[in-house]
Symmetry: C2
DNA sequence: CCAATCGTCAACCAAATGGTTGAATATGGC
DNA sequence: GCCATATTCAACCATTTGGTTGACGATTGG
């Protein structure tokens, strides 16, 4: 029953997890390094990463004793696509929509994160 | 603490609430009419609508004894914009996006809530 | 005015969430 | 082989969530 979108949106609802995603935008990271800036236990971070993984928002790959985390854009894109349907029902919203298309469709676009 | 995005994403994490939003895409609706296609109590729907309202995803206006619900796109747009920062860091295939447009924008599309 | 309709409130319940701590399981370095 | 490092597991806790039912307050129609 619990749809892919359920998991994605639920994962995105937590500020710690959104912060983790933002960090991973910069680079892949080990679990310990992900945990470093936060004030909660490593176990709690590990749980957050599990939730992000099951939501398909990140992937974890163990190399040696280190488990690397990297963004997995598909789920984010699915959620984004779902929301775009609502951006369109009003002319005002075409702003964001057009910016999206512009960036997304230009072959030589600079796809680096802005932040 | 709980950010606007927290509330928006948490609200979007429930399939019933996403279905409600989809219904409201068609037209503004009274609470009772929103509840009609669902198998849960009116009180439960009322709670869902409160959550959507506090998340800024819909607005409710009482006229007479009927309370009308309508989409409020700002919060959705905020969430959408947040996610686009992630959609861009990799060249994207627009497949899913185009399929979505096809379904969602066709005038005779079946937008009824799916369970 | 009275009854029906619209919607919320209150109390309750089971399950999920986000956190803790302490022990356990790899793995790597020396 | 041993110890430190990296990460998860297990048990526990408080709070939130999504649902129920029944009573309640407004409003409308006849």
């Amino acid at each position: 029953m619990s749809d892919r979108l359920d998991l994605a949106f639920a994962a995105l609802a937590d500020p710690t997890r959104r912060a983790i995603l933002t960090m991973l935008l910069e680079d892949d990271m080990a679990v310990t390094d992900v945990a470093e800036p936060f004030d909660i236990s490593l176990a709690a971070i590990s749980k957050h990463l599990t939730i992000l993984t099951r939501a398909g928002l990140i992937a974890q790959e163990k190399r040696g004793r280190v488990k690397w985390c990297k963004l997995e854009p598909d789920a984010l894109r699915a959620a984004s696509v779902w929301m775009q349907g609502f951006g369109q029902f009003e002319p005002v919203n075409l702003d964001a929509f057009e910016r999206f298309l512009e960036v997304e469709l230009s072959p030589e676009a600079d796809h680096s994160p802005q932040e």
